[in-house]
């Protein structure tokens, strides 16, 4: 296969070279017919590791406080890249990595959940931009992805697909992980290939509980051993994309306690300590400066003393969580080593798909979804809510979905300013990368400082594998990749800069890099704030982006962006501003701030369906696909068959105790529990027992009005008779959960109501024939439109935390 035409995929099978007669008499077989494409000779295995929501100053390999012995092992046997760049958001980085093209150009200017109406923001891969795994697969690689995906639109994560937006559709032979932007590490709602498989069985094993990072490594090894058992030579491409260190920060107490007391000094001192270690290690230049703290982050010393323990614990858990990820990547590397293939495996390990995440707000949160639902909670409230769910020792346990303070994220991005979402600054866009390939890298432990970008990975991998970027795929002419190979730098420390120009844009924060100069234009909006006051200045007709304040840095002399030269070089500012607009147009970045378009009335058509029917045993309906019951009146009706003697169990449940609802029967009583993000919990119980036989039960919620988080009255019915009622003062305005699913006839994973925790998943002991959600219309068309917009604004908010 070495001389096959790889420019057109799939590779055309050769015509039979045998002889075919009317009978076997004289016929000659051609055994090549049953062959398959093989990779070019010498094509190495490839392992790409992508850590989530982490900063340049997190891993000890780059001077951070988090112990990363496996990352350091790879760096000492390979190379550190200290000027490697990503986009400032999850999905865009992943799309760029897997396509070799700028993220907006392939529809991922924002996250997978947010599928907007502009080409750069539709979250749908163009067919003329075939991704890397597809190219590798068609060229004879075994391909597999494990962990976080985050490239499938919200409403397409069910059995109806379409599956070209799922990992298999992107060219992975095998996928095990989750489709969204984040997941519980204890009870994720999992996908395997083209099926949502939901809560892992191991979740119910109290002696040996399931933990997703461990399972990721287990499944990677299982897949790898299977591939090698079948074919000892076929190269593999593994995309190992951890859920860590994205919120919720889930890890066992043992891992978190390794860092007990290590962050009591606070984020200001932590930055100074990290900065000193970075210089000592030489991962930043000796003349680099530590950028100052922005007023958006409080000084550690300004915090009340009684809350410092609370804040410190947040970082202890994050650190333990991250070190665990390093350990599990180490297991995969060890497995490759045991196969004797480490020398011929190119490992590219990126610590962070964007800078560390600031969506925990200043306070951090016991439940990361509180920010996305716009629930204002002080740090004392957050502490008390964590106490409600077991206290700081349980921060990291399944009972909470924690995120840390934005100031810890800022410290994790040392020595830079800002972090995730801030595409204008290096805190959001510059992350560590380690390259390891003993067969080729001779400068072991070396440092590379060429300006490199995530779009360069795919061209580099193809270059090394000897595989061309195809001209056509499935008959569709392909666009060129935007990235360029940095393969030369693997073997030559003095390799010339392969990338001299690159734009950056995330949520309106933008930058233009050219020949060392970096123009930074940050919007005034603080990344974790989405209030009308914060959004208003960016409304159409109000915002003039050319009037945004600009900063200018010369990175060869200013590694950390500490010295703004804009005032001294107005001509360079003007040049780069103009260049940005050119690049923005070329790569589908426009219209700027399309990510927030729903805040300005640009919403998709209101769905026509108002009734949603689930028959039988439907389970694991993804959180973004449940009926749209938020901020309105609705009813849930269930047709049941109750055996003589009664029944109990869950009729329908969404998500868990930190946001969700459950309609269930316990002690003979129909009960409805509603958790408003674990802050408010409402429960209504029927005053009479559920009868046997064919029974119809109904829960009706009558909203007070067409307002976000509206309160309202709940009434429970049995066969149209009211049997119970209650009031819910507040309801969830945006989204119950980022990952937990809805189930009919049971409550998979973490339960909504702890009263049936011991019986989980508390499957209904009668029969649930069907469950019907009826969505009531709002009184006016304007209300309908306004609340529809709120729903999509919620998607955008959820996306920013992606």
């Amino acid at each position: 296969m070495s001389d096959v035409d790889r420019s057109s995929l799939p590779i055309r099978r050769e015509r039979s070279g045998g002889v075919v007669n009317r009978t076997l008499d004289g016929s000659e077989p051609d055994w090549n017919l049953i062959g398959h494409p093989t990779a070019p000779d010498g094509a190495p295995n490839v392992l790409v590791v992508l850590i989530d929501d982490a900063g340049f100053g997190n891993p000890s390999t780059f001077g951070g406080p988090i112990q990363t012995p496996n990352y350091t092992r790879m760096a000492e046997g390979g190379l550190k890249y200290n000027r490697f760049h990503v986009t400032a958001l999850c999905s865009p980085t992943r799309a760029a990595l897997l396509t070799g093209r700028n993220s907006h150009h392939v529809g991922f200017g924002s996250v997978g959940e947010f599928a907007g109406g502009f080409p750069g923001y539709c979250a749908t891969l163009p067919r003329d931009c075939a991704p890397l795994p597809r190219i590798l697969r068609d060229n004879g690689y075994s391909t597999a992805a494990f962990g976080k995906w985050h490239l499938t639109p919200d409403g397409q994560q069910g059995p109806a697909g379409p599956f070209d937006r799922w990992p298999n559709g992107w060219g992975f032979d095998y996928f095990y992980g989750f489709l969204g932007g984040g997941a519980s590490q204890w009870d994720p709602c999992l996908a395997e290939n083209q099926k949502i498989i939901g809560t892992p069985d191991g979740y119910y094993d109290e002696d040996d509980p399931y933990y997703f990072p461990d399972a990721m490594a287990d499944h990677t090894l299982e897949w790898l051993h299977g591939v090698r058992g079948q074919d000892a030579h076929k190269p593999f491409f593994i995309y190992f994309s951890t859920g860590c260190s994205h919120a919720p920060h889930h890890v066992s107490k043992e891992w978190a306690d390794k860092y007990k007391g290590m962050f009591d000094q606070g984020w200001d001192e932590l930055r100074e300590e990290t900065f000193a270690r970075q210089k000592e290690l030489g991962v930043i230049p000796a003349d680099a400066e530590l950028t100052p703290r922005d007023d958006a982050f409080p000084a550690w010393d300004s915090l009340p003393d009684n809350l410092k323990t609370f804040y410190a614990r947040q970082m202890e858990v994050y650190a333990g969580y991250s070190e665990n990820a390093d350990a599990n990547v180490g297991r995969v590397i060890d497995a490759i080593d045991e196969l004797g293939e480490l020398d011929n495996t190119l490992i590219l390990w990126i610590w962070g798909d964007n800078g560390a995440s600031m969506e925990g707000t200043i306070t951090g949160s016991f439940n990361e979804l509180t920010m996305q639902n716009g629930i204002p909670l002080s740090d004392e409230m957050q502490l008390q809510l964590s106490e409600r769910y077991g206290g700081l020792d349980q921060w990291g346990a399944p009972i909470m979905d924690p995120h840390y303070s934005a100031a810890w994220a800022w410290a994790g991005n040392t020595p830079f300013q800002w972090g995730k979402q801030v595409g204008s600054h290096l805190g959001g866009t510059r992350n560590p990368m380690v390259a390891h390939w003993p067969d080729q890298v001779t400068d072991q432990g070396g440092l590379r400082d060429q300006f490199t970008h995530i779009i360069d990975l795919a061209p580099t991998i193809l270059d090394i594998a000897g595989i061309p970027v195809p001209d056509t795929v499935d008959g569709i002419e392909q666009e060129p990749m935007h990235g360029t190979t940095f393969a030369t730098s693997l073997t030559d420390a003095d390799a010339p800069e392969h990338r001299t120009q690159q734009y950056f844009e995330t949520v309106g924060n933008r930058a233009m890099y050219k020949d060392g100069w970096w123009l930074a234009v940050k919007t005034e909006r603080i990344p974790w704030v989405l209030t009308p006051e914060a959004i208003g200045p960016y409304a159409p007709g109000v915002w003039d982006p050319d009037k945004d304040p600009v900063e200018l840095y010369y990175l060869p002399d200013d590694f950390s962006q500490a010295n703004d030269l804009a005032a001294e070089h107005p001509e360079k500012v003007a040049e780069l501003k103009e260049l940005f607009w050119q690049e923005a147009e070329r790569y589908r970045v426009l219209p700027l701030l399309a990510t927030l378009s729903t805040f300005f009335g640009m919403v998709p058509p209101i769905p026509a369906d108002t009734t949603f029917e689930f028959r039988g045993d439907v389970q694991n309906v993804m959180s973004g696909m449940i009926p749209r019951i938020y901020n309105r009146s609705y009813s849930i009706t269930a047709e049941l068959v109750v055996p003589d003697g009664g029944a109990e169990g869950v009729i329908v449940a969404e998500a868990d105790h930190l946001g969700g609802f459950s309609l269930y029967v316990k002690d003979g009583k129909l009960t409805h529990t509603y958790s408003m993000m674990g802050v408010f919990i409402f429960r209504q119980v029927a005053e009479e027992n559920l009868p046997s036989g064919e029974v119809t039960v109904r829960m009706e919620f009558a909203a007070d009005g067409a307002t976000p988080a509206t309160g309202g009255e709940v009434t429970l019915y049995i066969d149209d008779r009211p049997v119970g009622k209650g009031r819910m003062e507040h309801t969830v305005p945006v989204r119950f959960s980022g990952y937990a699913g809805m189930d009919i006839g049971r409550d998979n994973g973490g339960v909504v109501d702890p009263s049936y925790e011991a019986e989980k998943p508390f499957a209904f002991t009668g029969t649930v024939n069907k469950v019907v959600f009826d969505i009531k219309p709002h009184l006016s068309a304007q209300d309908e439109l306004d609340l529809h917009a709120v729903a999509h604004q919620g998607d955008a908010a959820h996306g920013l935390a992606g």
């Binding site: 909670l377 409230m381 106490e387 409600r388 802050v679 408010f680």
Partner: protein, 171 residues
């Protein structure tokens, strides 16, 4: 000092966790000041209500808080603001303080105190305010009501004043 001799203050604190409420309850009882009484009420995640109280009025020669005979007006918590949960907690706390009035008052408290929440109510002479109020450090909402007169009327008035402030979201 007799309970009738001085202005009575009633402090109501609202909490999102029983742990925080209990810390303040203990802090008040150990603050070194004389208090007429304190009550802590919380509802766990399964909806079970528990009450803890200290009644010092009998020792002062009064009829005891149980004999005050006032009826606490329970009211629904205001909408939206997370801090407003204190309003409900305050009302429930008041109910707890007088739970000996008769069966059913616990049910009323149970109907208003949020699941997972807790409340603290403290009655004390004005002269103790400078020690009592700083001891309450963890309430997410805290109000103080006041009233003068015979202890029955004073307690009743102070409680009503505190409840009104809590309902207004004044802290």
């Amino acid at each position: 000092m007799n309970i009738d001799d001085e202005t009575i203050d009633v402090l109501i604190g609202g909490y999102l966790s029983s742990t925080a409420a209990h810390e303040d309850y203990e802090a008040v009882l150990n603050c070194g000041a004389r208090v007429w009484g304190a009550a802590l009420i919380d509802k766990n995640l399964e909806g079970e209500l528990s009450v803890e109280e200290a009644d010092h009025t009998v020792a002062e020669g009064a009829a005891g808080l149980a004999g005050v005979g006032l009826v606490v007006g329970l009211f629904a918590p205001p909408l939206l603001a997370a801090t407003a949960i204190g309003a409900a907690l305050g009302a429930a706390g008041g109910a707890a303080l007088h739970k000996k009035l008769g069966a059913g008052i616990g049910d009323k408290a149970g109907a208003t105190i949020p699941i997972g929440g807790a409340g603290l109510i403290v009655a004390y002479p004005r002269s103790a305010a400078e020690k009592v109020e700083p001891a309450v450090t963890r309430a997410v909402q805290k109000v103080v009501g006041e009233a003068e007169g015979h202890h029955v009327h004073a307690l009743k008035g102070a409680l009503a004043d505190a409840q009104a402030k809590m309902a207004e979201g004044t802290s």
